[in-house]
Symmetry: C2
Subunit: 415 residues, 2 copies
């Protein structure tokens, strides 16, 4: 895409009321626009990052036989009154609204009850199990405070998956496979090394749930960590976990972290509560075993910004960057512009996504924008590079640029 056509511009300053580093940088770089605290629009560059993260998650969920669907935002009181979760005292993040006839509706903050109610229509017998469905849904949560930018949104994108099973053993097997799928997801997104499967509070139906926590100073959680043993415990269950794991708290490192995913075993509790059953192999009606698995798509994007940003701006991992190459044309001599145009065309032909800075602004502005936007590879075409039959190349993570040939550039870009 040509920068001159892109409607967003980089900004010198973020809005004064924006306190989170991730949102400050994303706003300044033109990736998001702030509507209110915890509510952000995603401009073309930001939407590309989101879609790249979604693609990785979708591929891994499909590998585990997940079936993609899309549930609704509007929720009925009836659906959630089958459990206690319609009650604002029990769930304190509901946004509620009303139909014209004053019927109360809720805006979905999660979908367990909705999924189970729907599945009643399709799951009748053991032959219909197991089944696993997922969606990328814009969830609304009425958070009291929303000061962490896109890491805690009142409106945010979540991948939520739900798996239904006939037995706890079958659930356990699938639960483990999703744990592994999540590990692959965070690895591919570039935060694998610092992301840990974490013991966390299990709620009504199970002792522990598992969170995926990424070490991150901007995170809202506190983790007790043993990197070598790959053990992580959320502070909220520290005492219980120490007992169960037979480990001493002094062995553990205390770090701040952000929850980037969670998996939750409801056992047959949700099904019992809702009175939903299937017919087992003996013809007996039994409750269904349920687990749910979330990845905060927008939150992951915020965590990546927080973790990797430096004093010059965002640093995107290649796998989720909005484009791979920032191509800057310096000067308007015909030979320079022709070379830059040709390279733009060649790279696109090779399947490489390029942001082509063809604007009439000074070089320093182009370099600053390339850094602020966090594009992995910066390529500069100028009078000097044309004379030397080379291109100037700098990775976002490097300090200084170097002259390389076109062929070397293609190698760097794995073309």
């Amino acid at each position: 895409m040509r920068y001159s056509k892109l409607f967003t511009k980089t900004l010198k300053d973020a809005p004064a009321d924006e306190v989170a580093k991730n949102a400050q940088l994303l706003i300044r770089a033109g990736f998001i626009y702030k509507v209110m605290a915890g509510v952000y629009a995603y401009t073309p560059l930001g939407l590309r990052v989101l879609e790249n993260i979604k693609t990785i998650v979708r591929e891994e969920m499909n590998k585990e036989d997940g079936q993609e669907l899309i549930m609704t935002n509007l929720q009925t009181k009836e659906t959630w009154s089958t459990t206690s979760r319609w009650d604002d005292e029990v769930v304190d993040v509901w946004f509620k609204t009303k139909l014209k006839d004053q019927t109360e509706l809720g805006l979905a903050w999660s979908h367990e009850e909705a999924i189970m109610e729907m599945m009643q229509q399709y799951v009748k017998s053991y032959k219909d199990l197991p089944v696993s469905v997922y969606q990328f849904q814009t969830k609304l949560r009425n958070e009291l405070r929303a000061k962490s930018g896109i890491m805690r949104g009142r409106e945010f994108v979540m991948k939520d998956m739900y798996s239904l099973h006939e037995s706890p053993e079958d659930l356990a097997k699938y639960y483990e496979s999703i744990k592994e799928a999540y590990t692959r997801i965070y690895e591919r997104i570039g935060i694998g090394k610092d992301t840990f499967v974490t013991f966390a509070s299990g709620g009504a139906f199970t002792k522990f749930s598992h969170e995926f926590q990424t070490v991150c100073d901007a995170g809202e959680d506190v983790l007790y960590l043993h990197r070598e043993k790959n053990i992580a415990v959320n502070e909220e269950v520290l005492e219980d976990a120490l007992k169960d794991l037979d480990i001493n708290v002094e062995e553990l490192e205390k770090v701040k972290s952000a929850e980037v995913g969670n998996i939750f075993n409801f056992g047959d509790g949700k099904s019992e509560e809702m009175g939903i059953t299937f017919t087992d192999t003996n013809g007996v009606q039994k409750p269904i075993y349920l687990a749910s698995y979330g990845v905060g798509i927008t939150r992951v994007m915020g965590v990546v910004v927080e973790k990797f940003a430096d004093e010059r701006g965002i640093v995107w991992p290649e796998s989720i960057a909005p484009v791979q190459v920032y191509l800057a044309c310096i000067g308007d001599a015909a030979k320079v512009v022709n070379k830059a145009d040709q390279l733009y065309s060649d790279l696109r032909f090779a399947g490489i996504e390029v942001l082509y800075d063809d604007r009439d602004v000074r070089p320093g502005q182009k370099f600053a924008d390339a850094d602020l936007m966090g594009i992995p590879h910066r390529v500069v075409i100028s009078q000097k590079t044309v004379e030397q039959e080379a291109v100037e190349y700098k990775a976002r993570t490097e300090e200084t640029a170097k002259l390389i040939t076109d062929e070397q550039l293609m190698q760097v870009l794995h073309v």
Copy 2:
């Protein structure tokens, strides 16, 4: 995909409270699930149709330099109070809700004010114009009645585009190009022949707007139509239009129709109301010219079902069908199953999407499901076809099947 893995099942009956043919068929075929009147979840098959329609629309919007983004559902009172449209007396489809501190919020039913407010940040001078942005957004509208299935949702997917211009002439030029893009969209979706650019009410800022209306008995609009002259007038502006077009009402055919798109010229009225300006070539502050362009993605899906369905079920045009081929394996003899497995593999290798009915149910059930689901091409492998070294083929629109060779099948499927 293997039918045995798909969690949805076809149903003999739609819910008793579902009165719209499109929703009845889509529910029975396992494409949607009804949450309440006007609110439907999209199961894997339904989501595929939606995504196919979105892909066509996205391609055509990108051709016209549209930049995709995603705005927010949650809207502030401040944004919409810059015009009169926060007022429930002016806009009677708002769903409203509240933050914990009792701040009122709205759920987006359209985005003109939100787009203009955001664009203020990026559009400063004539150099920043024109610009055109679009999104696929889940809109919420508090409709009093919602009895038309997915043709009038309280929650529905819309493609809405907004273009900003420095002059009425520049807007008019772009407006015409989107009119043509829309014509291409409906052509590609398969309803082009029966879809007409229609004079409709212009509201506060312009005499007429343009709707795209598809002739359809289930539609909620009434159209006066001259097919040869390609003239269509919405009943609501008939008198005015007859005068302007110098045409006699007796020349026109009266038909029922459904609005599948609309384009709307706001002139500089919205910008004036909101006090948003740009600096023109002479350094003078001027209001921005705005047009908006909608396509109801879910509604189009409903219209296609209504128009093409026959007594056996849905009939999808190839361009938006969830899969191209329904492959039914009849019997469990090894030779038969091997042949069906091989064909499933060959078709997928050739890039053809297949629903492989590998279930242990009687043939009549498979044939009925293929028809109800509306899959364009039905291929049957049985003892008979294997013996004759052929496959049985029937297009959804044909009455009887015929035996053809594998090579002939590949030709039919344009492989």
